[in-house]
C-alpha cells in the first residue's frame, strides 16, 4: 500500500511537470505564440502589456522585467524551482502573487463544485434506481426522456436561460452578488442555489442513465438470481443489486468532481462567481502566462489527485481489486 502510494505520488509529480512543460511549449514555442517574437521584433505579450503605442524602451523594460528574453528552458526550470516552493509567480496584469490569487479563488469553486455534485448525486442516483426498478413504466419513460433532455441541453444555454428566467423575469435571483460563505452564509446560499442546479442538471442526467443501466445489468447477473433463490426478501435483493450498481458511480463521481475543482469555467462565468474557472478565462484573454500556468497546474493537480483517491477507494469497495 505505502509502496503503491509512493509510486503513484512520484508519477503524479511527473505528470504535473509534463503539463507545465506543455503550457510553456504552447506559450513560447508554437508559431504565433504570445511569448514568441517570431518574425516580429518583440513577443506579442510584452507589446500588449506596454499599452497603446508604446516606445521600444517601454517594451524592452517590460521584457527585461518579466525575464522574457531569457532562454525558454531557463524560464521553465526557474518556474519549476519556484513552484516547488509554493511560488507560482506574479500576475503580468495585476502583479498579485498567483499563489495568493488562486487560493483566494479556490473557495468559490470548491463551494460550487461540491454543492452541485451533492445535488446531482442525489438526483441522479434516485432517478436511476427508481427507473430501473420500475422499468418500462410511465415513471421510467418520463425520467429517461427528462434525462435525454438534460444531457442534450448545454450548460451555457441552461445557464443563460436560468439567469434570464429567474433574474430578469421573476426577479428572485440576483446574478453576480457573490459573497464568501464566511462573511454571509445566507447570502452565499441565495447566490449559489441557481448555479448548483444549472451545473448539476447535465451531470444528474448522465448519472441517472448510468445508474439505471448498471442496475438493469446487475439485475440480470447470476448472483442476483442466487439471492432470490435463497429466499431473500425483495428489499435485500435490491440491496445486493445496489452494492454492485453504485460502485462504478464512485469512480465517476471522483473524476467529475476533480475536473470541476479545476474550475467550472462556463457556470462561473455566467453567474459571475469569482472562482478558478473565471480567473482562467480572463487570464487566457490577457495572455497572462503566470496565471494560466497557475490555474492549469491547480486543475491538473485536482484531476491527478482525484484519480488517486478513486483508485484507493475502489480497492476498498471492490475486494477483487488489489494494489500492485
Amino acid at each position: 500500500m505505502t509502496q503503491y502510494l509512493i509510486r503513484r505520488t512520484l508519477w503524479s509529480i511527473t505528470m504535473l511537470i509534463a503539463v507545465t512543460a506543455l503550457v510553456f511549449v504552447i506559450f513560447f514555442l508554437l508559431p504565433g505564440a504570445a511569448g514568441n517574437a517570431g518574425s516580429g521584433k518583440y513577443p506579442p505579450v510584452a507589446v500588449r502589456i506596454a499599452g497603446k503605442q508604446p516606445s521600444p524602451a517601454t517594451i524592452e523594460a517590460i521584457i527585461d522585467r518579466l525575464g522574457l528574453d531569457r532562454p525558454v528552458h531557463e524560464q521553465f526550470f526557474s518556474y519549476l524551482g519556484n513552484a516547488a516552493q509554493g511560488d507560482l509567480g506574479y500576475s503580468y496584469q495585476t502583479e498579485e502573487p498567483v499563489t495568493q490569487a488562486v487560493l483566494r479563488r479556490l473557495p468559490p469553486t470548491i463551494g460550487l463544485a461540491l454543492g452541485a455534485s451533492v445535488l446531482w448525486l442525489l438526483i441522479g442516483c434516485t432517478i436511476g434506481v427508481i427507473s430501473a426498478l420500475k422499468r418500462r413504466t410511465v415513471w421510467d419513460r418520463a425520467s429517461m426522456i427528462g434525462a435525454l433532455a438534460g444531457v442534450s441541453m448545454p450548460v451555457f444555454w441552461i445557464g443563460l436561460m436560468a439567469v434570464f428566467f429567474f433574474d430578469s423575469r421573476l426577479q428572485i435571483y440576483d446574478t453576480g452578488s457573490y459573497v464568501p460563505f464566511t462573511s454571509n452564509p445566507l447570502q452565499w446560499l441565495s447566490v449559489m442555489w441557481l448555479p448548483w442546479i444549472v451545473l448539476a442538471l447535465t451531470y444528474a442526467a448522465i448519472y441517472s442513465r448510468m445508474v439505471r443501466g448498471n442496475m438493469l445489468e446487475v439485475g440480470g447477473e447470476d448472483y442476483i438470481r442466487t439471492a432470490r433463490a435463497k429466499g431473500l426478501t425483495e428489499r435485500s435483493v435490491i440491496r445486493h443489486q445496489l452494492r454492485s450498481a453504485l460502485t462504478p458511480v464512485v469512480t465517476m463521481y471522483g473524476l467529475d468532481l476533480g475536473l470541476l475543482l479545476g474550475g467550472a469555467i462556463i457556470t462561473e462565468n455566467i453567474f459571475n462567481i469569482p472562482g478558478i474557472g473565471s480567473y482562467t478565462v480572463t487570464a487566457i484573454a490577457q495572455q497572462n502566462l503566470p496565471v494560466i500556468l497557475g490555474t492549469t497546474v491547480i486543475a491538473s493537480f485536482f484531476i491527478i489527485f482525484s484519480n488517486l483517491i478513486v483508485d484507493v477507494f475502489y480497492a476498498i469497495l471492490d475486494p477483487r481489486v488489489t494494489y500492485s
Partner: protein, 340 residues
C-alpha cells in the same frame, strides 16, 4: 423410492416476443420422489432450466404465459405469489446453478452470503448462524472452514465456489435440491467430486435431487430416473436402467452415441446432425423429425404423444416398438464395427 415430493403436471411456459411465441416448455409432466436423483437431459434450449426456474418463480411471470401445475408440499407453486414463494425458496426447495463463478456476489464474503441465507428463514443470532455456516462449509468439504468463511468468492476455486453454493442450498435441509448443470463449468476431476458430493447429500438427508444436464454420462452415474427433453417436451422418460439399456427414441440414441466411451476405443463419436429447432417455429409433427434418420410418413404431420408403446416406459416416437429395438441394435452393432 420414497413418496413424491414434486409433481409437475402439463407445465407450459410460453414467452411472447415480437417475433412470435417462444414455447420454451410445452406440456411437461413428471414426478420427483424423495431419495431419488431425477436427471433431466437435453441440448441447450430444450427447456430444462426454464422448467426449474419456473417452479421457483424465478422467471418473470409478467413476461411469460405459464399454465399447468407444480405441486410441492401441498402447494401449487404456480399459484403462489412472489411473497408466498419466498419462504419456500432456499428452505424447502433449493437450487444451485451452472456457473459458480457468477453465482456468488463478488463484493460480499462467502461466509456472509451463507449467513444471510440462514438468517432469512431462521431468526437466529449472527453467532449461531456463523457456527452453522462453518458446519455447512465443513460438511461440503471445504478445508479450514473457520478461516475460509472470511474469504471473498474470487479467493475460492471454481469447485470450492460450487461447494459453497451447495452449502448455501443445504442451509435449511431442503426436501428438494435442483442442480442446474452444476458441473458444466468445472474441470473433469472436480466434476466427479461435486457429483459425488450431491449424491452423498441426497443419501444422507434422504432428499430429492433434480439434476439438469446435457451430459447423459453424468446421468448414467448418479440418476435413478431420466427424462430426455427436446424442444420443450419430454421425448423419453423412465428409470435409468430402462433408458440406458433399451433406449426407444432416436434422439436418445443420438445423445448416447455422442458420449465418449472408453470401451469404444478408436470408435468415432457420432454427432446428431443439424441443430435444435427455433422454439418459435417448432417443426410440425415430431419436433425432432428434420434431424431424425428414421423419419417416415406421419413424423412431419402428427405429433407423437409421450406414451408407453410397449417398450416398458413412455416415449414419444411413431416407430413401432419392434422397429425401435431392431434399429437400436443395428446402430449399436454398426458402432462396434466401426470401432474394430
Amino acid at each position: 423410492m420414497g413418496e413424491p415430493i414434486l409433481e409437475v403436471k402439463d407445465l407450459k411456459v410460453h414467452f411472447p416476443t415480437p417475433d412470435g411465441v417462444v414455447k420454451a416448455v410445452d406440456g411437461l409432466t413428471f414426478t420427483v420422489h424423495r431419495g431419488e436423483t431425477f436427471g433431466i437431459v437435453g441440448e441447450s434450449g430444450s427447456g430444462k432450466s426454464v422448467t426449474c426456474l419456473t417452479a421457483l418463480g424465478l422467471i418473470k411471470r409478467e413476461s411469460a404465459q405459464i399454465s399447468g401445475e407444480v405441486l410441492f408440499e401441498g402447494h401449487d407453486l404456480l399459484k403462489l405469489s412472489n411473497e408466498d414463494l419466498r419462504p419456500i425458496r432456499g428452505k424447502g426447495l433449493s437450487m444451485i446453478f451452472q456457473d459458480p463463478f457468477a453465482c456468488l456476489h463478488p463484493f460480499y464474503r462467502v461466509g456472509d452470503q451463507i449467513i444471510e441465507a440462514i438468517q432469512c428463514h431462521d431468526s437466529c443470532d449472527k453467532n449461531e448462524a456463523k457456527n452453522r455456516t462453518i458446519g455447512l462449509l465443513d460438511a461440503v468439504g471445504i478445508p479450514q472452514p473457520d478461516d475460509r468463511i472470511r474469504d471473498y468468492p474470487h479467493q475460492f476455486s471454481g469447485g470450492m465456489r460450487q461447494r459453497a453454493m451447495i452449502a448455501m442450498a443445504l442451509a435449511h435441509n431442503p426436501s428438494l435440491l435442483i442442480a442446474d448443470e452444476p458441473t458444466t463449468a468445472l474441470d473433469v476431476t472436480v466434476q466427479a467430486q461435486i457429483l459425488e458430493l450431491i449424491d452423498h447429500i441426497k443419501q444422507e438427508f434422504n432428499i430429492g435431487v433434480i439434476l439438469i444436464t446435457h451430459d447423459l454420462g453424468v446421468v448414467a452415474d448418479v440418476a435413478q430416473s431420466v427424462m430426455v427433453m427436446y424442444a420443450g417436451r419430454a421425448v423419453e422418460y423412465g428409470s435409468r436402467d430402462e433408458v440406458f439399456s433399451g433406449p426407444l427414441h432416436p434422439y436418445t440414441w443420438g445423445l448416447l452415441e455422442s458420449i465418449p466411451n472408453i470401451d469404444r476405443k478408436g470408435g468415432r463419436l457420432v454427432p446428431i446432425e443439424g441443430a435444435p429447432p427455433s422454439l418459435i417455429r417448432v417443426p410440425t409433427g415430431c419436433a425432432f423429425n428434420p434431424r431424425c434418420p428414421h423419419r417416415f410418413d406421419p413424423c412431419d404431420k402428427d405429433r407423437p404423444e409421450l406414451l408407453d408403446r410397449g417398450g416398458g416406459h413412455p416415449e414419444a416416437c411413431h416407430l413401432r416398438i419392434e422397429d425401435k429395438k431392431r434399429l437400436w441394435n443395428e446402430r449399436e452393432a454398426g458402432r462396434v464395427e466401426v470401432a474394430s
